[in-house]
């Protein structure tokens, strides 16, 4: 008997008892839906938690400060930097050439005097304040620990756009929930330059205006303003052209820090040691991420087990339905054998029948799991949005969807093996005689 004939016979068998077939498919669908939804939600939650820990940057990210390492802090996640040390092109090239370093993103910074159009919490004019502007290559922002809370990031190379952090929101008496309120507001930003006149040190500002286009959570460097690095470079050039005054932002270090991405989480420790040997202080949440991942893995195992239990229950249902089908179709089996069907042909028919039930249930289950995960994601994102938190991006891994279909098919075929073997071994005479 050909496979084609086996499939036709299997479908005919299923159509004979459509109610039973539908219920069996429903059981598989529910189990596959549960497994798909649980794995999708668990995967998305893991991504979200790790994203929160790495502040939107890569997990294997390492912050390098323009400072020497403090021997007492080496290896700590939040290592406090030691004495300041210029971070220049030579250091950048050296760190870039270290083994297991995948990417290095320089971070620049400068002090700016900020005049805000916003009022403080009491409704008074906000006093002008000195704040650090962190300059990054916006095109590489995905490599940096930056996540957008509201609005968007400034456009690369544009000198009239700025993003602010939650620290700025606090300054104007707002919280993360109100982040959208500051988007569109304008700031006047002044880079100071110290100069001498009549034996006295004075300062003058180079002013420009910028619109707040977004609110971000960022850990690239300390500072409440995130701007394209061109803006910082222009301001630094102005400040450094004057007399050295660190209060006003004079800084000889070309870079305020580097963000180094190691080639995998397992190499973070090694890369940190190498950078320490070059002479710079590093920090990275490697220990925290490793612990959290261990816990998340346990949660994932538990959720998978729950889904698998449901699938096994569904498989038992398939086995039960198939056993009933074998009992009811003894005469058909006998006739098949009487006209020349071999044991393996009968086995094939019943195995295909079970596999079809699993396959259809798997497809519907993957679809159902996707819908359930989306619905849960919608509710969760609604809550997060109300709280002013970054929403969860649901990830639907292909392996989960494919696994639901293939796993259900395989499990159903396995569950149908015993009834199929029983049907195959039924002697033709006994089968026909039983009628």
């Amino acid at each position: 008997m050909s496979w084609r004939a086996a499939v036709v016979l299997a479908f005919k068998g299923l159509r004979r008892r459509p109610g039973r077939a539908a219920l069996t498919v429903l059981a598989v669908t529910l189990a596959a839906s549960l497994l798909t939804a649980l794995l999708t939600i668990a995967g998305s939650a893991e991504t979200r938690v790790l994203n929160e820990l790495s502040k939107g940057g890569p997990l294997a990210g390492i912050k390098v400060a323009a400072a020497r390492p403090d021997p007492a802090q080496i290896g700590r996640d939040d290592a406090r930097p030691g004495e300041p040390k210029d971070l220049d092109e030579t250091a950048l090239a050296t760190i870039r050439s270290l083994p297991d370093v995948r990417d290095v993103v320089p971070v620049v910074a400068t002090r700016l005097l900020v005049i805000s159009t916003a009022n403080d919490a009491d409704g008074n004019r906000l006093e002008p304040f000195l704040e650090t502007a962190v300059g990054v290559d916006v095109a590489q922002s995905t490599t940096l620990p930056i996540s957008v809370v509201a609005g968007r990031l400034p456009v690369d190379g544009v000198l009239t756009e700025v993003a602010v952090t939650e620290g700025y929101l606090e300054r104007v008496g707002l919280t993360r929930v109100d982040a959208q309120q500051v988007v569109g507001m304008e700031l006047a930003l002044g880079a100071a330059q110290a100069f001498a006149r009549n034996d006295q040190i004075r300062a003058r500002g180079r002013w420009h205006r910028a619109q707040i286009v977004g609110v971000v959570a960022q850990e690239a460097a300390d500072g409440q303003l995130l701007v394209p690095n061109e803006m910082v470079e222009v301001a630094r050039e102005w400040t450094n052209a004057g007399l050295p005054d660190e209060e006003l932002g004079y800084d000889t270090s070309p870079y305020a820090g580097l963000f180094v991405v190691a080639d995998g989480l397992d190499n973070v420790g090694r890369v940190r040691t190498e950078i320490t040997a070059v002479g710079y202080s590093t920090s990275a949440p490697e220990n925290l991420i490793a612990s959290v991942r261990r816990y998340l893995h346990v949660v994932e195992i538990v959720l998978t087990a729950i889904g698998l239990i449901a699938l096994v229950v569904a498989a038992i249902g398939i086995a039960n339905a198939m056993l009933a089908a074998v009992r009811e179709r003894r005469r058909e089996i006998g006739v098949l054998k009487a006209i020349g069907a071999r044991d393996r042909d009968v086995l094939r028919v019943f195995l295909v029948e079970a596999a079809v039930l699993g396959f259809v249930g798997g497809i519907l289950g993957a679809l159902g799991g996707w819908l359930i995960a989306r619905a849960v994601g919608g509710v969760v994102n609604g809550y997060l949005s109300d709280q002013g938190l970054v929403s969860v991006q649901l990830v639907f891994p292909v392996w989960v969807l494919a696994g639901a279909v293939l796993g259900s098919t395989f499990l159903a075929a396995a569950a149908g093996t015993l009834p199929a073997v029983r049907a195959a071994r039924l002697p033709a005479r006994e089968a026909v005689g039983a009628v």
């Binding site: 005097l113 005049i115 004019r125 002008p128 509201a150 609005g151 968007r152 456009v155 544009v158 000198l159 009239t160 756009e161 982040a179 959208q180 988007v183 569109g184 304008e186 006047a188 002044g190 006149r197 004075r202 003058r204 500002g205 180079r206 002013w207 420009h208 205006r209 910028a210 619109q211 286009v213 977004g214 679809l367 159902g368 996707w370 819908l371 989306r374 619905a375 994601g377 919608g378 509710v379 994102n381 609604g382 997060l384 949005s385 970054v390 929403s391 649901l394």
Partner: protein, 205 residues
């Protein structure tokens, strides 16, 4: 419709409903962010040269209320850059020696000049004042900078001193714009606002 077709239609409807529910239940947090600026916008570099009249240290909040800051924040495009090079008690000669070189490094497109009070205190001769101011304006204009001169006038609209008359003469000879400033208390925000408005008006739309 035959029964099997009806069954398929019902099943299709249910799947569509489920899909619609799934799609609608996902809340997308999309915030309205301002559009990016026009990259072809002309860049204005506004420098202010002068003495105490331009420095405005006497104000409570000079970074917001001084006329130079008002012009910068209200009358110029967002892409404008502004530096106030004015220094305390600066004469027009000091403007040439100390402020002009630093200002020219920025390649300004717009400059305001307001000198006179320090020259009056130092008793600079009016002809020397006029000559130096002419040189200052000419050096700025040579780089393509648009120059606006400020000068106090009395109630009749006449220059209130020889220096004011010199400024008017320089404006005429150099074809610069002249802004007549009412001589009232410079520590008043109202006066600062009036000066800023007068400068803005001179710049045109």
């Amino acid at each position: 419709m035959s029964p099997p077709r009806r069954q398929w239609a019902i099943a299709g409807g249910l799947v569509s409903l489920l899909l619609a529910l799934g799609c609608s239940s996902t809340t997308s947090v999309s915030d309205s962010a301002p559009p990016p600026p026009d990259p072809n916008q002309e860049r204005v570099v506004f420098v202010a040269l002068g003495g105490d009249e331009t420095l405005n240290r006497q104000l409570d909040d000079p970074l917001r209320d001084a006329w130079t800051q008002r012009v910068f924040m209200n009358a110029l495009p967002r892409s404008a850059v502004h530096v106030n090079f004015a220094t305390r008690d600066a004469t027009v000669r000091e403007g040439i020696d100390e402020q002009l070189p630093a200002a020219l490094e920025l390649r300004p497109t717009l400059a305001t000049l307001w000198f006179g009070s320090a020259d009056a205190s130092m008793s600079t001769r009016a002809d020397v004042f006029e000559r130096d101011l002419t040189q200052l304006v000419a050096d700025l204009q040579a780089t393509g900078t648009r120059v606006v001169l400020l000068s106090p006038v009395d109630a009749s609209g006449q220059g209130e001193s020889d220096y004011a008359n010199s400024v008017q003469a320089v404006a005429t000879t150099t074809n610069s714009e002249l802004v007549a400033v009412p001589t009232v208390d410079l520590s008043s925000n109202t006066t600062q606002a009036a000066i800023a408005t007068a400068v803005e008006d001179s710049l045109g739309p």
